[in-house]
């Protein structure tokens, strides 16, 4: 019988393991960026919707599952 899908499986030698994309880059850049929190905040300031209060108030959903 086929093994059920969520069972840990024996290695077939060809599985895929996730590798974080450019993780070391991220770590290195993180140190630099942490010195300058304002850089990311400035960038996010530029994309935040204007009139936060209105925008948040008008986000009204009907319930779902």
């Amino acid at each position: 019988m086929a093994q059920e899908q969520k069972q840990p499986r024996k290695s077939t030698g060809a599985e895929e393991t996730p590798e974080e994309v450019a993780e070391t880059d991220v770590a290195e850049r993180k140190e630099v960026l942490d010195d300058d929190v304002d850089a990311i905040l400035d960038e996010i300031d530029d994309v935040l919707e204007t009139n936060a209060e209105d925008f948040v108030r008008s986000f009204i959903q009907k319930g779902g599952q």
Binding site: Q5, P8, K10, E16, T17, A52, G63, G64
Partner: protein, 494 residues
């Protein structure tokens, strides 16, 4: 395994917009642009949303109308070439991934769902209706919508064992896979940050409902597979995640715990005294210091409770597979341990991996810089806009672009998953049929593909009741070889 995610919808400048109409616009825009020929209907024949895993059916007369999910309401509902289902559920567009067999594939097709939704919203805008989509779970005004997970389980596993061992796991797993929320209480009336989007919306321990009196363990028993062999565990308690590590660990660790339950491996009683209350208390303390009272009198933090499960899972994999364990299972165990160790030391150490920590870090930076209190609309906006799917507007997307959040997948593999089905489940057969014989497929569902062939009076229903058949290995060559649906059906019936 697979996920089904309902997205939040917003029509800018029109508060009175009908969300069902807006959701239909989104789904139809994608369907019109991407489907080559006639649109295959969803086939409801095998659906039974009122079947309860405890062994009885709910009467349709007493069911809330939102529970009758098998009635074809005429709302937009399409099957895609990647084997996924895109449709309108209640008042939200929903993407259900095709069936996959590994946690990383869940991440891949769940992420492909975000790309499908983004494309749908762009197409919708081109046709004159702007509808913004959010991958979150609440409007902070009392409404919540779901991000469900599904796991195929052996029918022989006693449901009481699932409830017993899974409940404490679900009370605590939010420390890893919460999406973070500004606002406490269903309508967000208390001004504070909490770990999970969904915790405040769960009111009972076990039950069939998904839209009211939501239970920690959902009993819907609708396997979409041979019911003698399988049940489908329908998990409704998770948050919709954007961070790939969050999704990966959410499904990877849950699958491991379920495997242990199936094999009767969990002996210790990790029962929690008051699960619904503790679920909320864990969520309401982002320092992760809250102590959960166990039935045996012990008091553990959410992280420590997760570590109990991690220790069991390590022993289980060692005991059953030893050095033969597949690399993804080993990777899930390692990342789980790494994340828990760092969460215990200082949650902020996980800010490049986990949604709730990334969001909280950003919120704290704003609070520090601008001196904002938790009732400030700007912090609520950051919470909401974190989940905006648009790459130029979504704050999750901006953090990824700035190297502040790590990914597990190459975007090219996500692009492929927008169109292509996984190779190792029946979704392969479904997706390839939709891609190659679109004009001949009149309907499809998880467990069937129905053909309408010229010259034949009746419809031809091909059942796909076994989730692990209809794979590329089984039917790849056959579909490659058959130029028409007629040829395919002739070959299948031979």
């Amino acid at each position: 395994m697979g996920t089904e995610v309902e997205y939040g919808v917003s029509v800018p400048g029109d508060r009175a917009a009908n969300p069902m109409v807006a959701s239909s616009h989104v789904v139809n825009a994608y369907a019109l642009a991407s489907l080559k020929a006639r649109r295959a209907r969803w086939d409801f024949e095998e659906e039974s949303p009122l079947r309860d895993a405890r062994g009885f059916d709910m009467s349709r007369a007493v069911a809330d109308s939102t529970q009758l999910t098998d009635e074809d309401t005429g709302m937009a509902n399409v099957i895609l070439t990647n084997g996924a289902r895109l449709y309108v559920d209640h008042a939200h567009p929903e993407f259900s991934t095709p069936e996959v067999t590994t946690p990383l594939d869940v991440v891949r097709w769940d992420k492909a769902g975000e790309r499908v939704m983004l494309r749908a919203s762009q197409l919708c805008a081109q046709s004159g209706t702007q509808v913004l989509l959010y991958k979150n779970n609440t409007d902070n005004k009392g409404a919540s919508y779901g991000a469900h997970e599904n796991y195929l389980m052996r029918r022989s596993t006693p449901f009481a064992e699932i409830v017993r061992h899974l409940t404490p796991f679900f009370v605590s797993r939010q420390v890893v896979c919460g999406a973070g929320r500004v606002g406490v209480g269903q309508d967000g009336r208390t001004h504070a940050f909490q770990v999970s989007q969904r915790a405040d919306f769960f009111e009972v321990e076990v039950g069939l409902e998904t839209t009211l009196k939501r239970p920690i363990i959902n009993t819907r028993d609708e396997p979409h597979a041979d019911p003698e062999l399988y049940r489908r565990l329908h998990v409704i308690i998770g948050d919709a995640n954007l961070a790939e590590v969050s999704t990966y660990l959410k499904v990877g660790t849950t699958a491991l715990v379920l495997a242990m339950i199936e094999d009767g491996f969990i002996e210790p009683d990790l029962g929690v005294q008051a699960p619904v209350q503790e679920l909320r208390q864990v969520s309401h303390d982002p320092t992760l210091r809250h102590l959960v009272t166990m039935r045996d009198g012990r008091r553990l933090t959410g992280v420590q409770l997760q570590m109990e499960y991690l220790d069991l899972a390590r022993k289980y994999v060692e005991d059953r597979l030893g050095a033969d364990a597949d690399s993804q299972t080993v990777d899930v165990l390692e990342r789980w341990e790494s994340v828990l160790t760092r969460l215990e030391r200082d949650p902020m150490e996980c800010a490049t991996e986990l949604d709730w920590v990334a969001k909280l870090k950003l919120l704290n930076q704003y609070r520090d810089r601008d001196g904002l209190e938790w009732d400030d609309p700007k912090l609520h906006l950051i919470d909401l806009q974190y989940a905006d799917l648009r790459p130029e507007k979504g704050l999750y997307e901006r953090l990824v672009a700035a190297g502040r959040i790590v990914r597990l997948l190459d975007e090219s593999s996500v692009d492929a998953a927008v169109h292509e089905p996984p190779a190792d489940t029946r979704a392969y057969f479904r997706g390839r049929c939709l891609e190659k014989y679109a004009s001949a497929v009149s309907a499809a569902s998880w467990d069937s593909v129905i053909f309408d062939l010229p010259g034949r009076e009746s419809l031809q229903r091909v059942p796909t009741i076994d989730p692990l058949r209809g794979t590329k290995g089984h039917v790849g060559d056959l579909i490659d070889r058959c130029d028409t649906a007629e040829e395919l059906l002739d070959a299948l019936s031979r």
